[in-house]
Structures are given as structure tokens and as C-alpha cells.
Symmetry: D3
Subunit: 236 residues, 6 copies
């Protein structure tokens, strides 16, 4: 039934390669099927002005797509400015990652996560959150190793997956052909211990019931469990 | 327990005044407590280029806040450009309203909903959706009266309400003092017949369980029922 | 002769409702016929850098129009930036109000007047000046009440009215149908005691004589007298 | 009494050198004392979209200042965008010149007047109007010579001069030291036959009476007569 | 003598991996030491307006750097706009590649080369030209295979290398530590047959002689020969 | 053979008029045939933040063209922002001039060179460098006269000339008709003592040999010698 032949509750293959760039304090290339995102973490000992002398750390994110990451070339955002969609996505990534950070334990410093989509096939914002957490973890590990951070501020991983209603059925981990057809789709950000952080469900020209929502939440839980396992393997 | 003294499942008082401006094809001033939003509908017989000759109608929305709608004056967006937050909100309003429109019945024309916040006290995006539907309905009524539209494209109202976890308790219809303290809050867009259109839940420095999500959904359902009653009274 | 049936020296009905928004230090909704402008005053204890430690106060203004304030929807300035016309108008409002302020008496603080046109029917910049003065006066009254300002810096009101040559005749207080036809029109800013502050007369595809200028000045004086009476009633 | 030692009704020396650049259809370098403006006219056989097929011509203007035209270097507008002041000035120049053009006689074409201030010492917008008319006239003469325009659309010259109240006295043709001190100053655009086109009077921290206005109008008339004589000498 | 221990005429190791992204018509990841650039080619059957119906093809290029491609994170250009440096580089890449294209043989279509720096260590513009030619060649091969292009428009490869004067000596293929210290450095774009296309030599706080220029040209020739061999291996 | 009838190694007539504007610390109007550029130097006792307390001076440049400096009117950059070409040119001018400055001798201050093209006929960037050096020299002379600078930081003049291959022949000092036809052209920046500072050679749809490069360098040397003589005459 699905264009890829996957079962309704079957994820695409996941791969997380770490330390892929020599400059960043943490980095990974995450591949969720044909969606490939390069995530880097940059540590800055200065925080934004509004949190100076608060003793709290800050995590923020930026998101971009290479112009030919998609099937049809998109205009370069450096030429026209960031779209509303881009800004919405990078706000989501930052908010999601912060929900899993003990900002007191991190200490007064900022970590910026850059998520750049090298190749897109649906689910880029979810891959960015999942891979972004890995880059963040690696950077924090470096801070702990040199003693700048004492107790681990990242005790519970954060990962994200999309689910939606495609051809009348609830399916896990939409790829682009599904995403462009689905009347209802959602992004679910969760912790390794099964807590919810963010739900973004929307219907374009359609509606959904609470029963369907529950079906999607069950699928999301399954997907996040697999992602968290991959995160743990990559960072241990 | 709530700063306003309201019960956990108590809405703020709702008022919807219609036809408040002489130029727009539909308009209302919606007041949800101290949150006041002016909503206007503009009919344009041309659709955007990408839907020309599709036979389908289009509904889009724009959102703004007067600089002193808030307690502290904000910089005017005309001077600095629309923020990511503004773009995110107006995309949400447009998507939500379109979910309740039969685009074939509307016919190939565009209706633009402008939502301008005159005074803000939390929940401006939800008030914009609820009031925006009223302005849209009034404009469509005008098209039906003159025979440009035959069968009603708006059979099921669309309304939105915020709920969140404040001081450990699930509460309905957050005002600004609650919104700025709540660790978890969400916006729920629903139809008059009880279907879901959009859920946007986020946690800032916190997490939530599926049980809490269910509690918030129950509250949202109660709130939307009251809003839909007010919409019907205003447009009948 | 006039589209509205008014006499050549007859103003539109004036209404000034004060304290219309809960956040601003001063506010009013001024209606000059079908032209409705919301004016708010924001007190900021900091002045712009170039007047720091001068001991002098500053008054500035910003102006905007809701997209559907006009008969045909205009593009939102937050999306395209402020037009030259908007900047010209807000510079005029600020300059006009400052001419009526004793900046020593005001003390080193800034008051920003926001004038947002809710509905337009000609004469929006004049209504903004007249209503802006009311918002300013109310904010200053608040400063005097709490003792931050001792002697009143606003002893002589400032108001503005448009006059022009329509169908060959000098007329007072142009509405939009007149304004769009008049070959010569002008805006006159005056004080309650009959002094001139600003004259902006222009001819589009036409010229005028000194005799005609004098006729327009006589009409403007009559109009400003009526506006000042309304300002005094609203602020006393 | 005046810093320059001039009488109150004495203009600065005027010089208008024509055909100063080889590319433009009309051009002049106008010098009003130490204020030097290069004015060029560009003929374009296409009009703006909104006047297509109207049979009417259009005249528009743009204005700029070289960064070091002033005593203190200003930031280049190409780097930061046109200021509100620049836009206000170029709108004034265009409106003023159009008032002296028979747009039917000009025929459906556009002439753009560029006014670039090479050196500034007060009165740059007035010099731009006066010199702009000369460049326009020379371009129109070229059109008449080749027969593209039959009857002269520029029968009455347009010129502009500033007057103001300096040290309590009405003075003609303010230079920069006067302009920066004057509480009241105005720009008067008139025709060679003595008609008024535009008056822009403003008071910064001051007011003025109708009697003073009349004194300034008398001075302006004297100044414009001298400018028109120089325009006629330059273009005949 | 060189920080890397290389001989003065020794290149960094070169690697060109082709077809690295599934969407683009041609692509490669070029690695010149630690400088890694992803190059993609996009075929568009429409040409820019100014060459419509000319029968000639067009090749253009865009260039970007991921924010953490460098040792210190740079601000994202999507947020602040393309710098002058970025525009200068992408103009160079496009001009260089066009010099090696028979635009009649290519036919009326446009190929856009995107060069995105994944990791930077000096020489990114040269790597972009060398890798860009490979992506271009692969895209053209596709057009030839399907018969849309008959005779090969790319008969002579185009490659680029930097040389400079470091610590008083002429050296080939500057890496970042050398580049940031060199008083004189240049970029040399050449063809496989030894012709010159572009020379950009500049001295910052230094000068150079014609003899030194000749030394650098000799080195550049050697480097380009090696690059062209790698290009041929990758595209055959 | 050349459109102007000049010999292949013949420059256009050069004229450098100094002190042409009363405000700038140094200025000249340089005319290379029909290319006329106004160059001004502005001394600022503050340096950019990144060189504060370095004890070193800084020289920077900005470049602009009046809209009708060219045969066809160009859009004003103040309206659309600086093009990539403009930024590239002003970076070249600044870099070239700095190569001839002893920054220790200049002392911690900044000099900004503004080069504004009044009339263009090819070679505007070269004329800007040559004239820019004269304005810089005059400003430095002023600093030396008042004792703010003790030893001359400008001991060797900097000048620039274009050469190219036109109709198959190497020619000196391209004017616009040649420049727009030449397949290969270059800009050569040199010192009075014959050292090279910058070479920018590019081929549009063409290539060139080392022998041709040598021919152009010989021509450039001849041209720069003549320009340096004119610079010395103008500043002594």
C-alpha cells in the first residue's frame, strides 16, 4: 500500500555517522532513508544578552536546505531571506532540544545546532531534531571531559518522528511521496523515557478524530524508541 | 488558583461584534476577555498564479499586532519586517480556515482574512481563527446573496482555543499571566462537529504525558463548543 | 455641490473616545466622519542616544494603516516595508506635536505616539495629529499626577485639518471622494491660540493663487477651532 | 545679521551650466552659492503600467546626495536604503515639475529627472526643482526638434526657493548655517507667471503667524523671479 | 617550511566522488585536502529573459558555506544576505565555467552549478570551479545520452588552483594557515590544454614582481594538470 | 583599428583637478577621456572595532555610479541595494590603496575614499583607484601639515589601468566600445616604482596565453607610468 512497500508501522533505515567535520565541537550526518541532514554543534561561552548573569545555559538551532536538496531546485535563501517555513522549523528544533536540557547543569554558555539538509525526502525537521540531539550530546561530552560541565545536562534523549494518515491509514515515518499526499500529518517530539515534548498536527483540506490521534501517538512512540536506540549507539 | 479567579474549565467572556468596518466584505471585532482582534475578509476574484484555472477557491490569512497592543510597546513590524512568530501564526490561521472550506463550492476566487490585534492578553492566534471564521462566513454570505456562490462552502464552523498546564493543573483558555508561566501549552483548532484540525502543543523547559494531553483535549472540546455557539449567534 | 452634501465650510462630525486600550499610558479613538484612527501614547524613560543628558524630552510618532482600512485592500507594510508616504506622514505627526511641547518641562523622557488607521475616508494624517495630541495629553496628565512632571508641558493644543479646492471652490475637511478629485489640497497644523505650525499645500496638475491660499487659511482656522474644542472636552 | 553678510532679501549667486554630461537627453549643473546639484533628464518611450494607453506623459524624479556632499560624511544610501527624508524630497520634486507640464502635449512617454547633490549648503531640494526644470526643458526641446512633440508642454517655468525666520527676521534663500538655526522655514514652489504650486512650511520647536507667512511669500516671489530669469537664460 | 610539511610545488590530496545526491542532474563531492565542496548541476530548459530565442545556452553558479564549515562559526547568510565576498566568488565560478562551454552546442537551456562548502581549509573557490566543472560535465553527459545535445559543448576541462607567496617563497595550493598569512595570493583558472581563463592576484599590504608572477604561473600550470587528470578520471 | 582611432599603446587624455569640493579633506575630479570620477577622502579619527588599539591606520573605499552616468539609465542603487559588481569594485579599490600605505606611519585613524562616477566610458574602477590615491594623498598632506602624521605613509603612488585583447590585438586603456567587445580584459594595479599590486584578468567566452599576458603587462606598465606622472603633477 505504501509507495515504498513498507509496513504501516515500519521506519526507514536509520544511520548516524558522528564527527563528520573537523571544526565543530560535535557533529553527525543522520540519514533517515533518503533524507540526509548534517548537524553540527558550536559551543559559545557567551550567552544572548537577555540571559547574561542568569547562570543558565541556552541551546538554539538554525536550519537550512541546500538549493538542490530537493527534486526541483529551490531558490537559495541567502538570496531571498529565510522563509516563514524555515523560521518555523528552526524555532521548533531549538524548543525541542531545550526541553531535554538541564540548563543549570549546562552552565552559562550557548550551544548552537546547525541542521543543514543535504538531501531531502520528507521528514527533514524530525531528522534535524534527532540528529541535532546527537551533535549536542557530543559537544556536551567534550565539555564534561575537560571539566567545564560536571553533571550531565542531557540525561534523557530527545527524538522526533512524523506520522500521518495516508490513503486512509495511519502510517509511521512519512517519506516525501506520502507527505505530499497525506491529508493529515504530524510531528511528534518525545523523550527516551516516553514523555511528550511537542505535537504539531495539521490537516490540509481534511480533519481527524481523537481515535486517529491516538493511533498516530502509538506509532510515534514505536518510532521514537527506535531512534533513541540509534542515538544511544552513536553517542556511547 | 488562577490569577483571574476563573475555574480551571472556565472560558473568559466572549463577544463578537460584526460589520465593524464599512469597506470590508466581512468583518468582526472579537473580544476574548481583554484580547481584542479586528478580523476583516477581502474577496478577490483572482486567485494566486499556482491555482489559476483549477476551479478551486483559496483562503489565506495575515496577522499583525498594533505596537502598543501589549503591555510593553513592541517595535512596529512595518519597520523591521515580519518576525518568524508572525509568519508562523498567519500560516496557522490560513491552514485552519481552509480545513473548513469546500473549495469547489467557493469557486475560483480568493478570500484574504486580516487579523489585527488591537489589544493582547494571551490567546491572540486562537481569537484570530475564531473571529476570522466569522469574517469569512459574512463575506461568503454576501457572495451567496448575490448568487456568485450557490451552495454554502462553510458548513461546519472552525474555532480555536488554548489550553495548558498552569501550576500543575490543566486549565482552559490561558490569559497572558498564565501563558507566560505555563510550562506546557497548546492550541487546538476544531470544527463545530467535534473534529480536530490542528494541534500545536509545546513544552518550554518541561514535558507532558498522554494522560495530560487527554485532559487538555477534553477542556478544548468544551471551549470550542462555547466559541461555536458565539459564532453561530453572530452570523445568523 | 459636495458629494456628502456638506456646506463648503462644514466639518464632518467629530468624536474622540479616550482610554480605549488598557495597556497604553494614554489613548483615544478619534472619528472624523468615517475616518477612524486609534492613537496611543507610550512613555519611555530613556531618550534616543543623541539627546542623552540634554535634560530635554522628546516626542516622536509612528503611523500605519490596517490593510483593509481602505476601499481596496492594500498590501501589508510589515511585508514590504514602510512606503515613502508612510514615512512622510509619521515625520509630519512627530514634528507637529513637538511644536506644541515645552521640552524642558517634559523632562528627559520620550513619548511615542502610535497612530493606526482602522478605517480611512480621507484626512488620516490630520486626524492622527489631532488624536495624537489627545493621547499625548492623557499620558502627560498621568506623569503630572504622579509628580514626575511638575509644570504642564502642553499648554496650547495642536490640531490639524485639510482644506482644498474642489470643483473650483475652497472647501473645509476633504473626505476621500473630494480628496481624490481635488487639484489643490493642503494640510494645516495650528495651535489652539491660532498660531501656525505647519502648512503642506500641493497642487497635482494644477496651481493656486495667494488669494485662494488665504481662503483656505480662513477655513482651516474655523476647522481647527472646532477640533480644539473637542480635544479640550475629551481631556478635561 | 546673516552669517553670509547678505541682505534679508538677497539670494546667493546662481549659475546654471547646461549639457554637462554626454549621455543624458538634458542636463545641467546648478549652483546656488555652495549648493551644487547635477540634474539629468532621461527620456523613456514607455510609461509606468498604470498610465499605459492613457495618451498622457509622465514626469518623475529621483534624488540623492553623494556621501561627502556634506560637512560630515553621511552613510551611503546604496548601503542602507533610501531614508524617509530622501523619499519625501524626490516625491516633492516630481510633483512640482508635473504641475508645470501639459501631459497631453508631452504625449505618452516618461521623463525621469535625477537630481544628485555634489555639494550641499542648504536648499538642495529647491535647487533640484529649479535645475530639474532646466534638464527637463532641454530634453523636451530635443523631442520638439525631432518632431516627436509638436506643441511645447512646458510653457511656464517652475522654480523653488526656501525662506524662513532666522534670528527673528524673515530671510530669503537660507544657507546651511541659517537653515540649521531657523525655527521656521519653508519651501515655495512657483511658476514663472507667479502662481503657487507647493508650500511646505514647518516649525521645529516654534510657531508662526499669518503675517509672517505673508512676509515669506513676498520674499519667495522675489527669489523665484530671479531663478526663472536664470532658467530662461540657460535654456534659450 | 610549509605548516603542512608539503613541498612548495606539492598539491594536497585530491578526491572527486561523483553522483553523491539523488536529485541533481550531475553532482560531486570534491575534497582538496580538508576543503570539501558539494557541487550539483541543475538543468533548466528555460534561459534567463535576456537570452531568450538566442539559441545559446547559459551556465551560472551560486556559492555558499555552511555556517560551521569554518573554524569559527560564521553567521548564516540566509539571515543576513549574501556578502560581497560570496557574490564575487559566485560570479567568478560562473564566468570561469562559461569560458569552457560551447554555448551553441549546449543549446538554449541553462545549467546552474551550486557549490556548497561543507568544510573549509583554504581554496574553496578553486575547489568549487574544479568540482563545478565535473558536475557540469555529468549533467551534459546526461543530455547527450538522451539526445538533447548532439556535439559535446565541453571539449576542454576547466580547473582552478591558488598559489601565493608564503614566507617569501612561491608555493602551490595554499591551505588556510598559509592563506591567512600570505601577503600575495592568486587564483588561476586554466583549461586542460594550458590556456588561461582568469587570473586574480592580490596583495594585502605587500607587492610583487613580474618574476614572482611567472613563478606562480609555473606552479599553477603544474597544479591544474593534476586537477584535470582527476577530473578526467572522475567523468570517464 | 580602434574605434577612437588611438594607437594600440595610446592612453586617453588624462586630467586631474584637485580640491573640487569644499567639505572633503582631500578631493579630485579625474577624467580619463570621457570617464569622469569624483574622488573624496574623509578622515575619521576612529578606526573600525576590529583594529582598535592596534596602532595601525585603515583605508577603505566606496564606489557608486550616478544613474545616468551611462548611456542607458541604470536603476539607482539606493533603491535596490548595492550590486555584487559594485561591492566587488569597492573591495578592489580599498585593497589596492591599502597596498601602498604604511599603516604604522598613518597612525590609528581611518580614511574613507568615495569614488562616484559622474560619467562613464569604460575603465571606471581604474580611474577610481588612480583618482582615489590623489584624494588620499591630499588628505594625508593635510594631516602632515598639522603634525598629526609625521612621516609620509604614502611614499610610492598607486595607479591602475585596463588592458585587453580587442579585435585580436593587445590594446591599452579600453574605452566602453572596446570593453564591451573584448573577449579578454584585465585591470592592473601597480606602484610608481613598477611593482604589481593586483591583477584581475578575465575572459568571457574566450581564453588567453602567457605570451598575451606578457604583452598586456608591458602595455599596463606604460600606462601606469603616465598615470603616476599625472598624479605627481596634481599633488605636488
Amino acid at each position: 500500500m505504501r509507495p515504498s512497500g513498507r509496513n504501516v508501522d515500519q521506519m526507514r533505515s536509520i544511520s548516524i555517522e558522528t564527527n563528520v567535520t573537523k571544526h565543530a565541537e560535535g557533529s553527525c550526518l543522520i540519514k533517515c532513508g533518503d533524507t540526509h541532514v548534517l548537524c553540527t554543534a558550536t559551543i559559545d561561552e557567551r550567552v544572548p544578552p537577555f540571559m547574561k548573569n542568569s547562570g543558565l545555559g541556552w541551546v538554539t538551532a538554525e536550519y537550512g536546505m541546500l538549493p538542490r536538496a530537493t527534486n526541483t531546485r529551490m531558490q537559495r535563501e541567502a538570496k531571498k531571506g529565510q522563509s516563514g517555513r524555515t523560521q518555523e522549523i528552526q524555532r521548533l528544533i531549538g524548543r525541542s532540544l531545550r526541553a531535554g536540557v538541564d540548563r543549570v547543569a549546562l552552565g552559562e554558555r550557548q550551544i548552537t545546532i546547525d541542521c543543514d539538509v543535504i538531501q531531502a525526502d520528507g521528514g527533514t525537521r524530525c531528522a534535524s531534531i534527532t540528529g541535532g540531539w546527537v551533535a549536542l550530546k557530543l559537544a556536551v561530552n567534550k565539555l564534561m571531559k575537560i571539566g567545564d560541565v560536571i553533571s550531565d545536562p542531557l540525561t534523557d534523549p530527545v527524538a522526533a518522528i512524523s506520522c500521518g494518515i495516508y490513503a486512509g491509514q495511519e502510517v509511521l515515518d512519512l517519506d516525501y511521496p506520502e507527505d505530499s499526499e497525506a491529508g493529515v500529518d504530524g510531528n511528534f517530539v518525545m523523550t527516551g523515557s516516553g514523555k511528550l515534548i511537542e505535537i504539531q498536527m495539521s490537516a490540509e483540506g481534511s480533519v481527524f478524530s481523537r481515535q486517529q490521534l491516538n493511533g498516530l501517538l502509538d506509532l510515534a512512540q514505536k518510532g521514537v524508541d527506535e531512534l533513541v536506540a540509534a542515538q544511544k549507539a552513536a553517542t556511547s
